[in-house]
């Protein structure tokens, strides 16, 4: 378990600044030479939501609890799927259309496990992590209260 705290601090994080998909994938790949598959999910700000044109997004999180929930998702993914490593990065604050919002990277020996774990993790994130999205349209700003 030595260094586990540090590794997790890097692999699971919430930040306002952008992140690098490449660097995160490389960080995850370092976990083992037995990795044969790396599956990534990248969430991006869309220009349309429920038929309305979106001008911008803003994300708010519950500091402390949100990070805890993300770390918990990583731990449960490592326990319940045959994966080697997982990274979860979520941005908060103002996000433009086309900008990255969230990145989940799952690595495993064989691809099925990484696909399953990655898809599970983003679904679990939407379900359990206290993060909220505000959409700005021509009509104003509205907090989104459902996860499609």
């Amino acid at each position: 378990m030595e260094g586990e705290g540090n590794a997790m601090a890097e692999l699971v994080r919430i930040q306002t600044e952008g992140f690098s998909v490449e660097e995160t994938v490389e960080e995850v790949k370092k976990a083992s030479r037995g990795i044969g598959a790396v599956v990534s999910f990248l969430g991006v700000g869309r220009d349309v939501s429920k038929g309305k044109e979106i001008e911008g997004l803003d994300f708010e999180h519950y500091p402390g609890m949100a990070e805890k929930k993300l770390k918990d998702i990583r731990q449960r993914a490592l326990k319940n799927f045959d994966i080697t490593e997982m990274a979860i990065v979520h941005r908060t604050g103002a996000i433009d259309i086309g900008e990255d919002i969230v990145l989940i990277v799952a690595a495993s020996a064989h691809r099925n496990d990484a696909f399953m774990a990655c898809e599970w993790a983003i679904t679990e994130l939407k379900r359990t992590t206290p993060i909220w999205k505000r959409e700005t349209t021509r009509e104003g700003e509205v907090w989104v209260s459902e996860t499609p």
């Binding site: 969430g43 994300f59 708010e60 999180h61 519950y62 402390g64 609890m65 949100a66 805890k68 979520h90 919002i101 969230v102 983003i122 994130l125 939407k126 379900r127 359990t128 992590t129 206290p130 993060i131 909220w132 999205k133 505000r134 907090w143 989104v144 209260s145 459902e146 996860t147």
Partner: protein, 82 residues
Amino acid sequence: MVTVRFFAMLKKFAGAETREFDVKAPLTLEEFKEVLKKEVPGLSAVLDGRSLLISVNQEFAGKGAVIKDGDEVALLPPFSGG
């Protein structure tokens, strides 16, 4: 004191991001919700709704939860991260 945190649209209903409440003796979650409704009438409908989650000290709280002096409570509308 019990600190209550409000997120997303609830900040508007509560008129603040956090508020402090004096809780002398431990209260059940249901009792604490009654205190909140009385002190912040704008939250009544939200507190009676089915879509609100409540956390105590950053853990989801069930009906049996107890709230005591020093706790941090948060009202969590449906999440929309990811």
